[in-house]
Structures are given as C-alpha cells and as structure tokens.
Subunit: 387 residues, 2 copies
C-alpha cells in the first residue's frame, strides 16, 4: 500500500481565544495549511474533522458542514470523535479514504473551542462526557479524579513518588517555554508543582493540562503526489488504534493502558520499527500520570519505572528519548479534539528541522501517542522524513 | 477495488425506549447482527459508530469505547458524526477502512437515544445544533422552521401544493403500517395530515418525522469473505457523499440540495447505474418537503414536480419507483444518527426478499439517501444482490 504524506500544516497558537469562534479558529488553521502546501482549496478532495464535544462546548454539531465550505474547501466532509483522540482518529480516517482510493487528497482538521462555556464546572462536566457518564461522571468522578485513582494505584503498586510525577510537569514546561505556539511559556520549578493546590488527591494543579482553544490542520496526499506540493514531505510510516473499556472499574489493571499497547504494536509493526528506533515522541500527558504510564507502555523504560525515568532526566530534550518537545498537553495546551493534530504538526516541524530552539537532534523517526478519555481509546502514528 | 458486502444486520424496533439506555439499545442491535452473520465478537476487527448528538442527548461522548467493549466486540472503534447522516457516514468509513486493507471486517452501528431529554424544547434545541447554530438556531430558526422556508420557496417557485406534500405522509404511513419495526403503524388520511396543527407554517404536524430512539447494526466484510458468513450477502455497489453550506442563506437555491446531486453522481458513477436502474429507494424524509426535493434531485421526476409525482401515486409501494417501503423517517421513525443504518437494513431485507408485506417486487438495485441538517451533508449508497 502506498504511504500517506503530509505536505502542509497550519495551526493557531493554543490559548484562550475568547475573541474568536470555532469557525474563526479553523479558518486560520486551514488557510495556513493551504498556504503551507501551496494548494488551492478546490484541489482538496475530502475533509475530515476531529472534535470532541462541539455540541456541548459550542452548541454546534455537524461542524463538517460548518467548517469546510466556509473555508472554501467545499469537499465531502465528516467529523470523527473519540474524545481527546478525535484528531488522530480523523487523520487515520483520511489515511483510510486515500488508501482505499476514494480521494487523492484530504484536509484534516482538529478543533476545540472550550472557552465558550463560562463556568469551569460546565467545562469539567463537558469533558466528563468522555468517561462512562453513568458510572463515573454521574457519581462525581471527574477526569482529575479518575487520573488520581490511576496515580494512587501506580504509587501503591510501584512506589512511584510525587516528585517523579512533578518532574514530568517541570520538563514539559521547560520545553513549552521554547514553543511560540504554546499556551504556557513559563518554566516552573519542582517546588511550584509539588506545592500547587490539590485538585483530586494526589493530583495537584500543576499535574493537569489546561483548558484550551485551538485549531490545527494538515494536508495529506499519497506518496506519489507529495512532491507536487513540497520538496520535504513527511510520511506516515505506521498507524495503529486500540480501544478498551471506557470505565476504569472494568479494566483489570489501571496502572497500564491496554489501548496504548495495542495501538503501539499495530503502528510499530506497520512501520517495521521497534521502540528503540524512536527518536522523539509526542505523548498524551493530560495529567502527569498519563505520561508516566505511557513511557512504560510504549516500552521506553520498565513497567513501574516511568516516574523514575522522568526524574532522572532521560525524557528531556535531546536526552535518551525526547518526550514532548512541544511542551506537551501540559504546557503547550490541550484543546481536546485538536490535540492529536497539534502533535502531528510538532512532529512535522521536528522532522523537517523547523522546530527552532526546541529542535531535537536525532530526528529520523517521530511518534505521536494520543488517548481518549482515561485511555479507553489510543491512536499511535509513526512518522519519517522523505529522504 | 474489491466490493464491500453486508453479511448480517440487527436492530431494535424504533420507538420511545424510556426503559432502556443508549448502551442497552446498541447491545440489542449488535447481538442480533452478530447472530445474523453467525460471527463471533472476536472475529470483528473494527467498529464504526454513527451518532449525532449523544453528548447532548445522553451526556455521553466517546461512545465508541462505551459501546464496543461492552458488547464483547473489543476492536478499534471510533464515532462518525455528520448530523442525521452520521449512520451512513459510519458505513462509508468502514468501507474505506476495509478498502484500504486496514481490516477485513467491521461492525457498523447507528444509534440515537433521544428520549433521555424530557423537555421537547430541549430535544428541538439539541437537533438545532445540526443547523448553523449562530445564524439559525441562535435566532430561533428550528428545523421545522428551516424546512418550512424550503417548502414555502418550493410552493412559490413551482406551484406545489399542501395536498402534494400531504401525499408523501399518507404514502409513508401506508408503508409503515406494514413494518413491524416502525414507530407508527397506523395509516393516516389526507384530511388528517392537512388538518393537523401548524408547527411552522406551512409545515403541519404530519409533515414531520417523530422523536425516536433506536439502534441498528450491520456487519460488513470484503466480497471475497462474504460467503463465509451468509449464502445471500448484499453488496455495496457504489457510495457517494456531498457537503454544502450549512446555513440556508448561503445557498443559491433552497429548493434543491447540491449535496444530494453530488452524492448521487459519485455513487451512481461508481455503481455504473443511471437513475432509471433504481428499483426502490429509502430517502431522507425528515419532513415531507425533503422527500419531494429528493425525488427531483435524484431525478425520478422533473424539477418542481416531486409533489405532483407523489400525489399521483408514482412513489407508492410497487408503483413506478418504490420510495420508502419501510415507512421512511416519517412513519418508521427517525433516531437521527441511526437513520442511515436503518435505511441500509431495509434495503438488505428488500434485496433478500425478507420484507414481508412491504416487499418490493422489483428488487435488483436499492438505494439509500441520507442527509444531515437541512441538507448540508448527503450520503447516497447503492446496493445490489449477490446473485
């Protein structure tokens, strides 16, 4: 099967965009992506949009029709949703559509406009719809609470410490300080993280990613057409997805994510790589515990050792494995349904040596890891340079 | 490219399922579909779910993880949304996934549980999120109002009459009376329709489809594997999708749907058929005006003559072209995101001569036509028998 290539990207800065709309943000991302690929809107044959909850956040479903035609790309469009993994799922569907021969090119968008809800309780509830609404959200188990259960279980089972988790936040804020598109560009200290207020014990404020607005777009085509648009395309060498039970109580072990393991295996097999071949990775650090578990589940360190691995500096920029050079969800921000596309865009820039001060030096193979909910969905993609 | 085959189907009766949940309804549909295809849950390699607004209706996004693993089908899953065309879009994505070689088999589900919202105003608002929220819903233009504008424009431009529109409702209730799974199994008279109360002038109550709950599932595989599961598979001979501006004021002509024309052209070209080759069709009659416009846009009659064509009985069961043998959205019911899959299941049964009293006699080629919103999205699929 012919590989899929990314030939252009565009995004808004992540932040709180009170003065712009969901439609306005996507317009910015799409126009930048079209310009980046030097492609006319009418050349785009299909559109795939990842968004988690535009219905609740913006009282707007059917955003496939809202966004595409408004941007001038009036091609068949649909929305894909798998909670916070929606962006990566949209990219996978675009790959399927091109791979099956339905279209030669696709515009893939991720968007979430979370600040249209004024009350933070409403935002937390909206996000909570990605958990098992009946058994989790409905009894007050918000996402900080669910990840707190996972963190507590990890500490109990493996002896991991608050300091280890805090090191994830410090590292990601370090990286985010180098990213002009990040929501937070301020470094933080271990003290700041560990003394921040408790949100859901043992999770502190600085263990959490923020509420964010953002839109990101990439243009994909098949390998044989890629050089028409750019001298330096980025290829998707492998893709994998995994689904698991949505509710934590239905999983045998909440200190690991089966969905990640399944997605990694499929994606790495397709790309014919092993974990040791990965040069850098954008992982889904919605909470610090999520990055720790993911380091273990992908296999960068032994099970239970993710926190220690982080505290020892092995995941810092240009160390053993560069994890979240963009700043991750923690510092770059987390516009939920858009996050997967932002991860792809970071990898795109890193592989093309366009990442400025946060450039990784070993950059042959980059990977994205994007989860939905408390990890019931996972999508992993493997990227390589054209040369 | 190898054709995609449908090898098993299952669904709930459409109705008001106050006593069951979104998860419970899908369990019924999935277990019936698995039994129908004589396939084990573990043999299913992927799951695609169409649902319009489970976030608002059921405070539950991320239903891909909610439904799949709960049913025993723990395969990579995602949700597809394009308002009321979500079900058909999910089927298209499954076709892409199999066509691109990602999977050999897929479970495709459509579901909507609309009666979890108690206040009918809340339901109308939830549905309104499929319009342009800012320019339509936000100023009070609900879907009955939007389709009333289209109906008024059609009457003005072509001289169509209330009696013509009413004939659509009468015919679909006639058909629905023969369908054991329909929400309404009562015939209605022209008088009943034309004297029913005004909802949004000129739309009367009996011009509208109802609020419905329902779940429907189909199992698809590639042609070469189909006979493993059934002696009598149904093949998808063509598929097409079209997207247009979401807001009515952005379209040059609101008495036609460009999205339908685009979807029909793509699907019919792929299936190598013309309109005259179609034996029966399930069309999206959310309001009677929608069926009238669709008859014209697909080309069963001249533009502007859809109402007359209906009133003259050309669309009745086993007349010139059997339109909505199931009873359509009008009588069978309209669980929005599930509707596209219910259409497919009707065609499946018709092509296999399993449709009982509503069986069409000419049944070589069946077509489904499924729109989202006021027609900004359209999906058309063409089906044929295995022999």
């Amino acid at each position: 099967m012919e590989k899929i290539a990314i030939v252009g990207v565009g995004n808004t800065k992540i932040g709180e965009w009170y003065e712009n709309s969901l439609r306005g943000l996507t317009d910015i991302a799409i126009s930048k992506a079209l310009e980046s690929a030097n492609i006319e809107p009418k050349e785009i044959e299909s559109t795939f949009i990842g968004s988690m909850s535009s219905g609740i956040f913006n009282q707007q479903e059917h955003i496939s029709a809202l966004i595409g035609p408004h941007s001038g790309v009036n091609a068949p469009a649909l929305r894909v949703e798998s909670a916070c993994a929606s962006g990566s799922q949209a990219l996978r569907v675009a790959m399927m559509a091109i791979g099956a021969g339905y279209y030669d090119s696709a515009l893939v968008i991720g968007v979430e406009k979370m600040t249209d809800l004024i009350d933070i309780g409403d935002v937390t509830t909206a996000l909570g719809t990605a958990s098992d609404s009946l058994w989790e959200l409905g009894v007050g188990a918000t996402f900080p609470a669910l990840f707190a259960l996972m963190m507590r279980a990890h500490m109990h089972k493996y002896g991991s410490t608050l300091e280890e988790f805090a090191s994830v936040a410090v590292k990601n804020h370090d990286n985010g300080s180098l990213n002009p598109d990040a929501q937070f560009r301020k470094k933080v200290t271990m003290d700041t993280v560990m003394n921040s207020r408790v949100i859901a014990d043992p999770i502190r404020l600085f263990d959490c990613s923020p509420v964010s607005d953002g839109a990101a777009a990439v243009i994909v085509t098949k390998e044989s057409l890629a050089k028409k648009y750019t001298d330096d395309p980025v290829y998707i060498a492998g893709t994998g997805a995994g689904t698991d039970h949505i509710a934590l109580h239905q999983r045998p072990d909440i200190t690991t994510m089966e969905s990640t393991k399944r997605a990694v295996k499929t994606a790495f097999d397709m790309a014919k790589i092993k974990t040791k071949d990965v040069d850098f990775v954008e992982v889904h650090d919605c909470f610090t515990i999520a990055e720790v578990i993911t380091l273990e589940d992908i296999g960068f360190c032994k099970k239970g050792q993710g926190g220690k691995f982080s505290l020892e500096g092995e995941t810092a920029l240009n160390s053993k494995i560069s994890v979240n050079p963009s700043g991750g969800l923690k510092a770059k921000g987390h516009p939920v349904g858009a996050t997967g596309i932002y991860q792809v865009i970071e990898v795109f820039h890193q592989l093309r040596n366009e990442a400025g001060k946060r450039q990784v030096t070993n950059n042959n193979i980059g990977v994205t890891h994007n989860i939905g909910g408390s990890g019931a969905t996972c999508v992993v993609n493997v990227f390589s340079r054209g040369d």
